[in-house]
Amino acid sequence: MIRIVPRTQFGFWATAFPLLLAFSITVVVGFLVMVAMSEQPLSDTWTLLTFPWQARTASVQWGFVLQKSSYLAIMAVGLSIGFRANVWNIGAEGQFAFGSIAAFAAYLLFGMPDTTWFLPVMLLFGILGGIAWALIPAALRVWANTNELLTSLMLVYVAANVLNYVTTGPWKGDPKAGQAESDPIHESLRIASIIERTDFHWGVIISAGAILVLAFVVLFTTFGYSLRVAQNTPRAQKFAGFSPQMTVWMSFALSGATAGLAGAIFLSAETGKLIQSENYLNGLGFTAIVIAFLGRLHPIGIVAAALLISYVNVGATYVQSASQVDDAVADLVQVTALFAVLGTAFLSQYRIVFGKADLSTEGAV
């Protein structure tokens, strides 16, 4: 007889056991996916796990991993602030787009300055653009009681249309390009690589700094504490001196800021120009939601999850080019990990007991 009983003691294993279990499930299922999709599953799995050392230059592959995980981690940390307090901003993709648009707008507004000193201004405008777009669903939630989850998602599609509009209309660049795109920004405004010829650029460092600041706010300030309280007991939050409205405003402002910053960095470091939405937005804002849950909404967990998922993602792309295994393997591993983490999360509150009920040792339930 298997029964589920609430935990009375919360030690190290209450947190570690579910995560270890989820990790094991992901590894097993991930390998089964590989068996299903590959003709030589063993060697392909080995390639996926050790790809940086298999590739011609390991630093390039590590650069990809760091670059991808920095975008995911910064956005996921921002989103997790709201998720902790049951404020559901799932429109980070749109705020990312607006960060890019605002950064480019600043570039045009100040007369296309050709100096690296202007870069911080662009990043600042990116942050402001993300915040501005995120505050729309926040305002609708606070003033009109509208479900922020649906409105923030709908605004992703609207933001994609705004991006398409500016790249085909007022800011249209080279008409001979195969896609709608703006003119490129000056080379001096492109974020430079730290290690030559890799994607490990200063944007990764900026993101890491922002993550540290946010992690400090969430873990060590009264405001962060009130958000953590809000997750389980909204009423107790009032005693900490924060109104639910304030929580909505702050959650959206912070998650919008991180998504906007990521968008501005992406513009400067990766593309150097705005491109029509289909070729510019690649779902980072949606993957960040998964990362936030994978990291159990904790900054350290999120950074670890972002690194792991990016590693698998870049590895899958490498395996695809090396031995024709569809890189959808990465998507499947990612979703398996998400479901495994969600499905085992209750084990940090409960434990599984084999045998008959013995109320004397389990306490009153």
């Binding site: 009681n145 649906l150 998602l153 709908m154 605004l155 939601i289 998507d331 969600l342 209750f346």
Partner: protein
């Protein structure tokens, strides 16, 4: 002019039907106290499954197979093959939903996180399987169109022809299901149990109702309806064609419809057709005013996503309405008290 009106109405019926189907399913799910945000993902998986089913059924009975595609033009898809593919879509949709159900009901996962995960799973899985499923690339597979329910000549009858006789099987089905769900929820004992479970799962459990089983069943019903909605978009809305992310947010529109309807079946119908008309107007307005400014043109493209936001704001400003009709246990994880 009246031609145009009828054309727009007929098109909006086509566009509203998948919204209606998915929303009916989700309505029952939410009435039982579960919020499943994975509608979009279930639509994608179900839609792809239906398309694969139709392709396989067609090529197994094809009289003129060239390479991997069927080129027999004469009625190469009949209603039975279509119904078969719809069944496949419904079953696969229900299976995807069951995954969500196991996570949220047995493993007590957060509804919102699991639902978002299901959407991610649906998008990822349908993208990869659509490109290569047992060696067939379904993004380039060709399948003949589904004939309308009635003889094609009936479609020429003025007004009722295009509106009633040239419609697809699922259009009348959506109305029948709407009526059936209304009857089930409001006039049957089983429907009362579903609503009781949604209002207060502890009371329902204390009365001896199997809360988790009821919820599993409603979740799977919702998945089956979302699968049908996806299959309709892929197979019947235009010509059968699979493209990645073909639902472009229709699943989320269906979720918005539930809020719009304040959990009442009649208003689900109203909302679905309102969104359907907006979706149908967009390309036609662009065709009529072909010299409209770029701003206006992009505004029209974004309109199907702006209208739901505006409508939701108008509905939500009256919190009494929502509180009176919303299932009280909506989105809460059920933990039986022993």
């Amino acid at each position: 002019m009246s031609d145009l009106v009828i054309q727009i109405l007929a098109a909006s019926m086509l566009l509203a039907t998948p919204l209606l189907l998915a929303a009916i399913g989700e309505l029952v799910v939410e009435k039982s106290g579960v919020i499943n945000l994975g509608v979009e993902g279930m639509m994608l998986i179900g839609g792809l499954a239906g398309f694969i089913g139709l392709y396989q059924l067609q090529s197994s009975t094809c009289t003129m197979l060239i390479g991997e595609n069927c080129f027999a033009s004469e009625n190469s898809v009949n209603q039975f093959q279509y119904i078969g593919s719809l069944l496949v879509a419904a079953i696969v949709g229900a299976m995807a939903a069951a995954l969500f159900g196991f996570l949220t009901q047995y493993f007590r996962a957060n509804h919102i996180a699991a639902g978002l995960g299901l959407t991610v799973l649906g998008a990822g899985l349908s993208n990869s399987l659509g490109g290569n499923f047992f060696g067939v690339d379904y993004t380039s597979a060709i399948v003949a169109s589904v004939p309308p329910l009635f003889p094609e000549s009936w479609g020429d009858v003025p007004v009722v022809g295009p509106l009633l006789f040239s419609q697809n099987l699922l259009v009348p089905f959506s109305f029948v299901m709407l009526a059936a769900v209304w009857f089930f929820l409001n006039r049957t004992r089983a429907g009362l149990v579903v609503r009781a479970v949604g209002e207060n799962h502890h009371s329902a459990y204390a009365l001896g109702y199997p809360v988790i089983l009821v919820r599993m069943l409603t979740i799977m019903f919702g998945g089956a309806m979302a699968g049908l909605a996806g299959a309709f978009i892929v197979i019947a809305q235009i010509a059968p064609k699979w493209t990645e992310g073909i639902t472009v947010g229709k699943g989320w529109l269906a979720l918005a419809l539930i809020l719009f309807s304040t959990w009442r079946p009649g208003r689900v119908l109203l909302g679905a057709y309102l969104f359907g008309i907006v979706l149908a107007l967009e390309p036609r307005l662009k065709a009529i005013f072909s010299n409209m400014s770029l701003e206006l043109s992009y505004f029209l493209t974004a309109l199907p996503y702006i209208v739901p936001v505006v409508v939701l704001v108008m509905i939500s400003r009256n919190p009494v309405m929502i509180r009176r009709n919303a299932p009280a246990s909506l989105g809460q994880t059920f933990e039986p008290r022993s």
